[in-house]
């Protein structure tokens, strides 16, 4: 046997899973075949009293299903009947294991997830090592998938429908303590005692019948005909429908599998799950999410696009200029990654305030039990606040995170330049000012690069690595080494105003404004955005960001135009923002104080009262000068499509213009950075799944009705003609 070693020790058959061809054990057809063979052998061996299933992988029992195999299913159309047959084989093998007549113990020596846990569920007892990293659960839903080897049937029967659904729907991974408490495992032991504990259970109890095969079995908390089950289903349906907007087929499929399967005996229940599993695979959502959020993201996390021929650069010391919100976050994640941080601001007090904020953030994590006082002390110990540029000496990387003001940035660049060696790189955390222009202030423009972090830096994994015209390959590689060291994921983009992710996101906000001006009901504008899968609706975001920001941009444009002798004509959206501020003193959710220092009431597109927000009822009336009144209301579906299309089209333009050069980066970047709907797998995947041809046709239709911004770029038209796709 190549994957599973079989040996008999005293009266126990010990099956040790160790797939030498992979870093982790996964639930493959080969592994299952060997598992089955082992079970049969043990079942037939009169000297064997019980069976112990374990793994030889350090800290891992089995990490799940074979995701590559699942993703590859997407390349062709899925033959439901064939897949049904193949999957029923898996189910039959696991069923045979739990009915083989001899007790089977899952001796779980570490991480037991997905398919690995489904095997454990088909064992009669689950004993887990009590080590923090030994996570247990069915995480499939997190990737838009669902358990497909009996998980949706056995877990509800083991721990009750309500608890099981809560875990499966959210793809929760539990640590050993939680796993024991929730009943996912029966016993926790120290690693050295694992096999002995398994043997002991076989000798002392050794019940070879699953609870659900017992005559008087009842589902914990109530079975298919109970009021509890009906209520659980009703509540889960509504909550999940509400939260996913019907965009996640796997969520409904999991519920369906549990609903349909629970009344059945285990021999038949599996097939119900398989049907749903196949439905999930037939829909492009799961494959798309898997490709983008697992495989493409992994590339970004591993630095697949880092120039390979540049030696690795170990970042030991980083300088951060500007101790504001972004600077604090960057300091935090750097120090956490064992990098010494020089946190510089215009005076020491400001710099120290920045460090203090990091302490506050860590304090909140401590309260939630996610860190320890020792670790906090170590992190803070690596952050050195200062007001002196001399302290930047010896830094490998300097990240500039000051206000978006070219002159200020130029001063910072020059001051830092004077202290840095030729090896060090200088990164601007600008959110949109072109890097090539900023690099002009540097004496070493080849060492100048953009690192666009997202807020809150501690939680947002994505970083846009922005390559300017003069940025060297070495600098790009070094930037990657820094990004990877602070455990961020990077995408590489070329210089352009707004770079990539902000450009795409900007079209979404702007589409909200178009809709407003067209006279679409604000509630519909907002609800359709949520239905499209956007985490926040456009008017709500405008309020959060602050209308003052947009107001200033427009005022600057007005000044520039006047200075250049042009006539300034604000767009209706700009006029609305100006009127909100000038005529109604509405600045958004977090208004700046008045000139006399007194506080303004929060309010923008929304009213904010008693912790609740409602759209400002006077909006239409107050802005009637710019908003079409009595407009015919579009369907939510049309509005939803406009949001998705306008962003996808901008993404394609970025690709066409060379701002991004890789559709995988393009897909993963906007999902991770600016909340493009994850269920789509990203804008390029969305277009592929929609059908390039159909997308171009529908974009043209939108363009004819709503404006030229929906006109497909030439490259996309060509693809439609030649039948090409992005992947």
């Amino acid at each position: 046997m190549a994957i599973i070693d079989y040996r008999v020790e005293d009266e126990f058959a010990i099956l040790t899973w160790d797939d030498a061809s992979r870093p982790m054990n996964v639930l493959s057809g080969d592994a299952l075949a060997e598992l089955s063979a082992g079970i049969e052998k043990a079942a037939a061996d009169d000297d064997v009293k019980g069976i112990i299933l374990t793994s030889a992988k350090q800290g891992v029992f089995a990490a799940g299903g074979d995701l590559e195999q699942i993703e590859s299913l997407g390349s062709g159309s899925i033959d439901a009947e064939d897949l049904l047959k193949r999957t029923s084989g898996v189910l039959a093998q696991l069923r045979r294991m739990e009915t083989c007549g001899k007790p089977v113990v899952a001796a779980l020596n570490g991480v037991t997830l997905g398919g690995g846990y489904e095997i454990a569920l088909a064992c009669h007892r689950r004993i887990l090592v009590n080590q923090r990293h030994a996570l247990v659960g069915l995480p499939e839903a997190g990737l838009g998938l669902m358990p497909g080897a009996g998980g949706t049937q056995r877990l509800p029967r083991l721990i009750g429908v309500g608890s099981a659904l809560a875990l499966i729907m959210q793809g929760k991974q539990l640590d050993p303590e939680q796993a024991l408490e929730k009943g996912l495992v029966d016993e926790l032991v120290e690693p050295d005692d694992l096999i002995d504990a398994a043997k002991k259970w076989i000798v002392e109890s050794g019940n070879a019948t699953q609870p659900w095969d017992e005559k008087r079995y009842e589902v914990p908390g109530g079975g298919a005909n109970s009021v509890t089950f009906a209520q659980t289903m009703m509540g889960s349906n509504a909550m999940t429908h509400a939260n996913t907007f019907g965009n996640m087929p796997s969520q409904q499929a999991i519920l369906q599998a549990v609903y349909e399967g629970l009344p059945l005996p285990m021999d038949r229940a599996g097939k119900v799950e398989t049907r749903q599993f196949i439905r999930v695979l037939q829909d492009p959502t799961a494959r798309s999410m898997l490709r983008t959020l697992f495989f493409s993201l992994q590339r970004c996390q591993k630095g697949a696009r880092r120039p390979k021929d540049v030696p690795r650069f170990d970042v030991k010391k980083v300088g951060i200029v500007g101790a504001g919100l972004m600077g604090q976050g960057i300091a935090h994640v750097s120090a956490k990654a064992h990098i010494d941080v020089v946190l510089l601001d215009r005076d020491l007090a400001s710099a120290e305030r920045g460090k203090e904020k990091v302490k506050t953030t860590l304090g909140r994590r401590l309260q939630k039990g996610r860190t320890t006082p020792d670790r906090i002390e170590a992190i803070l110990g690596r952050i050195h606040p200062t007001e002196s540029y001399h302290d930047l000496r010896g830094c490998d990387v300097v990240v500039e995170a000051v206000f978006e003001d070219r002159e200020l940035k130029a001063r910072v660049t020059k001051a830092a330049d004077a202290e840095l060696s030729d090896d060090a790189i200088f990164a601007s955390n600008t959110s949109g000012l072109p890097i090539t222009g900023l690099a002009e202030a540097s004496s070493r423009p080849e060492n100048f690069i953009g690192l666009h972090f997202f807020s809150p830096v501690e939680r947002m994994q994505m970083v846009e690595i922005v390559v300017g015209e003069q940025t060297s390959k070495e600098t790009l590689a070094k930037a990657w080494d820094y990004v990877l060291k602070i455990k961020k994921a990077g995408i590489v983009v070329n210089d352009s105003p707004g770079f990539y992710t902000s450009r795409v996101f900007g079209t979404f906000i702007s589409e909200g404004n178009h809709l407003l001006v067209e006279g679409v009901a604000p509630a519909l504008i907002e609800n359709a955005a949520k239905a499209a899968g956007m985490p926040m609706p456009p008017l709500g975001i405008s309020d959060q960001v602050g209308l003052g920001t947009m107001y200033k941009v427009a005022k600057q444009a007005e000044k520039d135009a006047t200075a250049a002798g042009r006539v300034w004509e604000p767009s209706p959206a700009q006029a609305i923002i100006a009127s909100l501020i000038e005529d109604h003193d509405r600045w958004g959710a977090y208004p700046p104080p008045k000139a006399d220092g007194s506080q303004r009431k929060p309010g923008g597109f929304y009213d904010y009262e008693d912790g609740a927000k409602r759209l400002w009822p006077e909006l239409g009336k107050a802005m009637s000068q710019w908003i079409v009144s009595g407009a015919e209301q579009p369907s939510a579906e049309v509005v939803r499509r406009r949001y998705l299309f306008v962003q996808c089209l901008e993404a394609v333009r970025c690709l066409e213009q060379g701002v991004i050069t890789d559709v995988r980066d393009g897909d993963v970047g906007v999902i991770m950075a600016v909340g493009f709907p994850a269920f789509t797998g990203g804008p390029f995947t969305y277009i592929d799944n929609y059908g390039v041809d159909a997308f171009v046709r529908d974009a043209d239709e939108l363009a004819s009705r709503y404006g030229a911004r929906f006109e497909p770029p030439e490259s996309l038209r060509k693809m439609a003609v030649t039948g090409k796709t992005f992947y």
Partner: protein
């Protein structure tokens, strides 16, 4: 096609639908059905063997009102063995639907004399007891955006702009009219007291009413569906289906929604010939009925389209109807119905409705028909339209005309 005539209509008083103090709760539900079924041949002076079917509506047909309560009721009423029975479930319009189907059998010539009606013990068999797939089967629940009907009622109020004051005012008027109707003995002809097994009267008067209820009283009540809507995702589901709504305004509560009660009703229908043969005087003609489906998430907007359909089929206009009876499931349903049909409150639910009396689910439709027929006679008017909103997005309407 044969005309179908209404010869009699009786109903029990409605008892509070609570085990602890509901007057009808301490006997099996069949006792209520027995009371109305025994009253019909008694009052008409004919042999119960003349009845060719007993069609009863029941919305939670399980347990002691399960397994074909139509036949069970006929049997316990001592009807001749030859009288069959059937139970149907059109949710809240079951009682009216039973009458309509009974009438259709007469019109088709399949039967000469038939009983349509309904019953519901909400004290002994709680709402939802029959289960069902709508809320539980994900495919169905997601596909049709299931939310409990109280959320639908609040959505109607939000979408069509009925404020808390609007719906409360409707309820106050309903209580006042109900009290006045009892005061004026408007129901004397139709109420059949329910007696227990030793012949003692259990209930002879509607006991759910709260005469003298004021706007101020109602303003104290907490909304019934707000917590459920916000906490369990139902509001969000409803808004996804109706995205022009920003936030649902939860205006309904126990005081402006139909009460939970026990009760039964029966209507005797038949052909002209049957009446002549048995010496029965027709009170009205069942002109036309219609049931339609409507958007299930908002759920309760069916009465207007059903009524329009019934009117169109009858070749009648809104102005041809003298009195309107819309089941007071929730205030907003009635306000929307009046607005959509362009009818006045002064001719709608003139004797109050389910907000005051309660709504014994399977029976109400037949009760409303009897109540408005009495009122037509009392006022010497001719035509009435009875309608109910129905769960899962339906509406049933019936037009009657005195002869």
């Amino acid at each position: 096609m044969t005309d179908c005539f209404i010869y009699d209509a009786v109903r029990t008083p409605r008892g509070k639908g609570r085990k602890k103090d509901g007057a009808l709760a301490d006997a099996p539900p069949l006792r209520m059905a027995q009371a109305v079924l025994q009253a019909l041949p008694e009052r008409g002076g004919f042999d119960d063997a003349e009845i060719e079917d007993v069609i009863l509506g029941c919305v939670e047909p399980v347990g002691e009102q399960g397994a074909n309560v139509g036949r069970m009721a006929a049997m316990i009423s001592g009807y001749d063995d030859s009288v069959p029975g059937v139970q149907l479930n059109r949710f809240c319009s079951s009682g009216l639907e039973a009458v309509n189907i009974a009438a259709a059998k007469v019109k088709a010539g399949d039967v000469e004399l038939v009983v349509g009606g309904g019953m519901e013990s909400m004290s002994r068999i709680s709402m939802g007891a029959a289960g069902g797939a709508w809320s539980t089967d994900p495919e169905l629940a997601w596909g049709t955006s299931f939310v409990p009907q109280g959320i639908g009622a609040d959505l109607i109020a939000t979408k069509y702009g009925y404020s808390r004051e609007d719906v409360d005012a409707f309820a106050v008027e309903s209580q006042a009219r109900a009290a006045a109707a009892w005061e004026g003995r408007h129901f004397d002809r139709s109420i059949v007291p329910v007696k227990d097994s030793i012949g003692v009267t259990m209930l002879d008067r509607d006991e759910h009413m709260r005469p003298g209820t004021t706007l101020d009283d109602l303003s104290q009540l907490e909304p019934s569906f707000e917590m459920m809507g916000r906490k369990f995702g139902f509001d969000a589901v409803a808004i996804q289906k109706h995205p022009e709504v920003e936030q649902i305004n939860h205006v309904h509560h126990a005081g402006n929604s139909s009460g939970i009660v026990d009760g039964a009703a029966a209507v005797l229908l038949g052909s002209k010939e049957a009446g002549q043969r048995l010496g029965l005087t027709p009170r009205a003609r069942l002109v036309r009925s219609a049931t339609v489906g409507s958007e299930p998430c908002i759920m309760l907007t069916g009465p207007a389209p059903a009524s329009r359909k019934a009117l169109a089929r009858a070749g009648m206009r809104v102005s041809d109807i003298d009195l309107w009876e819309i089941n007071e499931a929730f205030s907003s349903v009635c306000l929307l119905f009046m607005e959509e049909m362009g009818i006045d409150r002064s001719v709608t639910n003139v004797n109050g409705g389910a907000i005051a009396f309660g709504h014994p689910l399977g029976a109400t439709g037949a009760m409303l028909l009897g109540t408005v027929l009495d009122e037509l006679e009392r006022r010497d008017l001719n035509t009435a339209l009875i309608t109910l909103c129905v769960g899962a997005g339906m509406g049933t309407s019936t037009i009657i005309e005195r002869v």
